[in-house]
């Protein structure tokens, strides 16, 4: 018994393509972050942000980095346990936490960032002049989510 189904091209389905590509890039990176630096992707994102801006709170990071607050919280705790950042409750508002990188954390970033930069450069090379088009299109997609 043959069943008829409407046409649909999964290969060209944008959400699918984006998910697959992003997933591969992420998995790739995550592997390196883990094996070479001992941290997870969420930890990397949190550490990076704390590295740049002193005294960020969990909520600040949640908004900046598109991570759920529970993820941020756990990532921060792990980074703290590893000695890469410190948590201090804010004196002004004692609900808030001020996250700050330690020297160890800064050292780690000094190794992580060139690695990420290198990866970016590789992608840029692949994309050539298409890179701006890509970013332009991604801007439009970002705007999609209101």
């Amino acid at each position: 018994m043959s069943v008829k189904v409407p046409e649909f091209d999964l290969e060209g389905y944008l959400p699918y393509r984006l998910t697959v590509i992003a997933g591969q890039l992420s998995a790739d990176l995550a592997k390196h972050y883990k094996s070479e630096f001992g941290i997870s992707m969420p930890e990397w994102r949190v550490l990076l942000n704390v590295g740049y801006t002193k005294g960020l709170s969990i909520r600040d990071i949640e908004k900046r980095v598109n991570l759920e607050k529970s993820k941020v919280s756990r990532a921060a705790s792990k980074l703290e346990a590893k000695g890469y950042l410190t948590k201090i409750t804010d004196d002004q508002d004692r609900r808030l936490l001020k996250l700050t990188v330690t020297k160890e954390g800064a050292k780690l970033l000094e190794r992580l960032i060139p690695f990420a930069q290198e990866f970016q450069d590789k992608l840029d090379k692949r994309l050539g002049d298409k890179i701006d088009e890509l970013h332009g299109a991604l801007d439009l997609l970002m705007a999609t989510e209101e």
Copy 2:
């Protein structure tokens, strides 16, 4: 004590951007698939493929749809439990499983596909003529993974 860290622009970091955007689109879609059709993303991908090609095996799908075989296996089992497809062991090679959509499965696809198509159309509208550029760039990124 102030700590110096090399410059890095996370906002413009391509893997990050892709992950965030893909994640938002996926989460969005997953919610609808779940609430309106009662299936997960992996199940949707599996169902779609089985809908088009009769007798696919788990491994076939794994390759086609970028899902780990354990994910495919579990998705297939759930779809079977819900009555959307059947598993039959291949006579030629009894390690293989032949997956086939049931009438119920086909009916579900008839509802799912227009939904997905509509979503795609919305994205196309947002992107306008940038759509081809985007796909072109994604092609290049795909080629990246060897």
